[in-house]
């Protein structure tokens, strides 16, 4: 017993212990082999698939965004490569976050809190890239790239950004692109958008997002455990570039419109205005300027929160396209509706004379003529030409509010025009039904009077107004205004050629519109619009002044002025008996308390510039601040 290891005495115990030990070895190695078999042979295919899946990922290939040209082929926006700085939160250890963000903030010269905000506002997972800065200059991008080891999770990415050739001139039309928002992402993800993607936010960029974006491709990319791309394995699907747009806009007309509007605004000290020019034969918008504006390149570069807040809080709302996204009382320009209605409904004939007076009395309210005198017995030419309020009070009274509303709808008021720009408002055409629904009361006779002269509840967008006069000029076809002429596919072929879109043919006798065109010409020839008749071209049109807001200490309201004018196809020798006009122009001068009608001066200047009239017919004296109700 005591010498167990001496096999001569107790060999059996020594032997059994060796046997058991040996068995343990065999069992252990056998168990390991079995497990290895289970992993590699029985489930090998599955593990290989997991391994492939986690190291390769399908990444999108951005498609070059479509370009935008004006009607003459001038490039309005293109794509330029820029450096963006992005962070993959998963790669940024929490313990180092403050230090990395502080360092990055110093390199980018931005407030670290903005970078923190961007990381915290990350829409995707921690493995998705978050854009913290874009349009970084090359030197900074290089510094950040080289500091890679000290900036874990930070990546410098080359991406394309939009460069808007004319900046502020076209901002309201083109809009801009910006990062996908939290609300948009869930829906857009299904369409292949990435959390750090850019997309059209406003203007044509938003309206034609689908066409401009193109189709993203995809490539399978090998990545390591941290998610960094190590190599591109293969292109799965090639990206298809976005389609390009050719606009109806003529850059020269756009510049002329802006120049004319800016001139008057500066002269008057006015802060808000619109000029639109369009072809009444097709609905093509040649120019659309809304001031104040902003530079969409700032958005393309990544606008700072402070600058954006400034734009948002500006009282004149520079981010709003006042041509379509705001409505205003149209004033006397709206007399077109009552005039057309009264003639077509045979309330009056072209020769019917209606007595104009210093004022009309309704109950105990006096409804004044704008010049407090009147012009005696007036036919439609006299009434429209002098813009007689008492004349049109009476016409509105003959028609009644609902018939007036009907004719307003015929001219396209009360409905969005359907122009291919986002966020258009519809304006207001008061009728009994409308007032019941909106205010729970019926329309009083005095309100019908107001509606007849474009005051009271009437509200139109500048685009609706010009479109109504375009229908007058072309003989009764209400076109849908359009900004985009052709959509050009990535292969250079036109994939959607321009086609005029008709909203409706007005249900009106053609001679009624001929009378109204000549009445509009009368406005000019009667010198209601001062020297507009002296220009070598023939212009017909209508001015308007509309009160708004709250009265001053002397009970006077501020007012805005309008003018819409059109020329015959041959502006020098043409006639308004014809329906061949190819140019309608309108101006809206908000809060323009001037001696003369500011909008008329703006349109006059535009015509001068547009037709290359060398003699200057502008009357700056009319733009002096002053007399209320001197002109209408």
């Amino acid at each position: 017993m005591n010498t167990y290891l001496d096999r001569s005495t107790v060999p059996d115990r020594r032997f059994s212990r060796f046997i058991v030990f040996g068995l343990v070895v065999v069992l252990a190695v056998g168990a390991l082999t079995a497990r290895l078999f289970y992993l590699q042979i029985a489930n090998g295919t599955e593990y290989a698939a997991i391994s492939t899946r986690q190291r390769t990922v399908l990444e999108p290939i951005a498609a070059p965004r479509g370009l935008i040209y004006d009607r003459n082929g001038r490039l309005l926006v293109d794509n330029v490569p820029t450096f963006a700085v992005k962070i993959r939160p998963a790669d940024l250890p929490n313990t180092q976050r403050d230090a990395v963000v502080a360092r990055l903030g110093a390199l980018l010269a931005t407030d670290p809190s903005e970078i923190h905000g961007a990381i915290d506002g990350n829409l995707g997972s921690a493995f998705d890239l978050v854009r913290v800065a874009q349009d970084v200059d090359q030197a900074t991008a290089q510094l950040i790239s080289e500091a890679g080891f000290e900036l874990p999770g930070v990546e410098v990415v080359v991406e394309a950004r939009r460069r808007y050739t004319d900046g502020a001139l076209m901002s309201h039309l083109l809009g801009y692109t910006g990062p996908v928002s939290a609300e948009q992402l869930p829906k857009l993800r299904d369409q292949g958008y990435q959390p750090d993607d850019l997309l059209g936010k406003v203007g044509l960029e938003a309206q034609y997002e689908t066409e401009l974006r193109g189709t993203y491709g995809s490539e399978s990319v090998a990545r390591d455990a941290t998610g960094r791309r190590t190599q591109v394995l293969q292109t799965v699907e090639h990206a298809v570039p976005g389609a390009s747009l050719t606009l109806t806009i003529d850059t020269k007309a756009q510049k002329d419109a802006e120049k004319a509007l800016k001139w008057a605004m500066k002269k008057i000290g006015m802060t808000r205005g619109v000029v639109i020019a369009m072809n009444p034969q097709t609905g093509e918008i040649l120019a659309m300027v809304s001031l104040p504006t902003y530079d969409n390149n700032e958005f393309a570069r990544g606008i700072s929160t402070a600058d954006y807040a400034k734009l948002l809080t500006d009282k004149d709302k520079p981010l709003l396209n006042h041509a379509i996204q705001a409505h205003y009382a149209p004033g006397s320009t709206y007399k077109l509706v009552a005039g057309t209605g009264a003639l077509d409904d045979r309330e009056i004939t072209p020769t019917t004379r209606v007595m104009t007076r210093p004022y009309l009395t309704l109950g105990d309210t006096k409804f004044y003529e704008w010049n407090r005198r009147g012009w005696g017995a007036c036919d439609i030419y006299c009434g429209f030409g002098h813009s007689s309020d008492t004349f049109f009070y009476q016409l509105a009274g003959m028609l009644g509010i609902d018939r007036l509303g009907y004719w307003a709808n015929q001219y396209g008021f009360g409905e969005p025009t359907g122009v291919d720009l986002p966020s258009e408002v519809s304006g207001i055409v008061p009728t009994n039904e409308w007032k019941q629904a909106a205010l729970g009361a019926e329309v009083f006779p005095g309100e019908t009077y107001q509606a007849g002269i474009g005051q009271g509840y009437d509200a139109v967008t500048p685009l609706q107004l010009i479109n109504a006069y375009a229908a007058l000029a072309n003989g009764g076809t209400l076109y849908q205004p359009q900004i985009v002429r052709d959509i050009v596919g990535p292969d250079g072929a036109i994939s959607r050629p321009f086609e005029p879109e008709v909203i409706h043919e007005m249900d009106v006798r053609s001679n009624v519109l001929r009378v109204m065109r000549n009445a509009a010409r009368e406005t000019v020839t009667l010198r209601h619009t001062y020297n507009l008749v002296d220009l070598p071209i023939k212009i017909a049109g209508k001015s308007g002044t509309a009160e708004f807001g709250t009265p001053d200490s002397r009970g006077r309201l501020p007012y805005s002025s309008f003018f819409v004018g059109f020329t015959p196809k041959d502006p020098f020798k043409g006639s308004f008996d014809k329906t061949d006009s190819e140019l309608v122009v309108m101006a809206f001068a908000h809060d323009s308390r001037t001696v003369g009608n500011a909008a008329t001066e703006i349109v006059k200047y535009f015509f001068q510039l547009h037709y290359g009239i060398e003699k200057d017919y502008r009357l700056p004296a009319l733009l002096e601040r002053g007399n209320f109700y001197q002109n209408d």
Binding site: F18, V25, A28, Q40, I50, S51, Q54, T230
Partner: protein
Amino acid sequence: MGVIRAEPARVTDWAAKSVGAAWRAFDLQLATFAGLLAAVGLVMAYTNSVEAGSSPLEAGTTFTRGLMWAGIAVLAFIVATSFDYRWLKTLSWPVYGLQLGLLVLTLLIGDGVGGSARWVTFGPFTFQFSELAKILMIIVLAQYLASRQAKLDSLRAILGACVLVGPPLILVMLQPDLGTSLVFGAILAGMLWMSGASLLWLGALGAGVVALIPIAWNYILLDYQKQRLTSFLDPATDISGAGYQLHQSQIAVGAGGLFGRGLTNGTQAQGDFLPVQTTDFVFSVLAEELGFVGGLVLFSLFALLLWRVLVAGWRSRDPFGTLFAAGIASMILFQLVVNVGMVMGIMPITGIPLPFVTHGGASLVSLAIGLGILQSINIRQRRAEW
């Protein structure tokens, strides 16, 4: 014990034997299997160096350092083989003192990850003394148990062995290095078993260890150690922490298939999906790149080596030799099972290196010394009498 006895190891014994006789008793197979395993380790060091993106022959890579340590290991093996192991019996108390001294030194001046003290740095080299301490422990235990052959049915000798293992085990726990302290336990268990100690007392001892587990769990183990120990049960619960390593290493092993992806082609390793791929998880790289066939070759080499170690123990008519072989075999088997089991998700994460293959100089040199002593035992046996 107590007095250093020079008597059993007479210098003349060795000198009297011819070199030829010694060479005949030398176990060439044992040396070959060990050498092949070390070669596998070098191959893995090579593939890891390539995947780390460096030219493998550059100074300072895993591969060149591996080559250097392999050279040192060969020298250590030759020296240990030449050295008469019987001196170790005489010197067992100083050996024990050396062991404790090295472990205390490690605690005092050692470095490690995150405030631990695992290895000592000499200039450009680092050395993990706890690896050498395992071999020294085997020497001390072998001598202790061999000299108490007569009393092994009593509880006293068994407890004495436990008391001997206690201090080094605690010193290693303090580093803290849970894995190595478990290896000490495995060595003790294997050697007690092979010493022929009474089954009754061994069973009682085992029951006592089991009873101690809840206490150790609640008062001794650190939180991260507990987390690592349990995460293998359900890696998915902790996919970004301890479970991540397990998850990724299983994917790597599984993706290897029958023949593997080929050396240096392991995508799991290249993509840095595998953590600590040169050390504790080296087997997952091997399995991914060399496949089931490569894994079988490795297991076979280990099985053959263990066989030769056990044969050496069986042949030794000196109880010290038998017990030393048992200690070496226990150590290698335990580390193999726990390390490879961990990589394949059937053992907890303990941070135990895979003998020969895991990159690490101390481990390889210590193994070479252990196997060298075993060869010394082989060639210093008189011819079998049976």
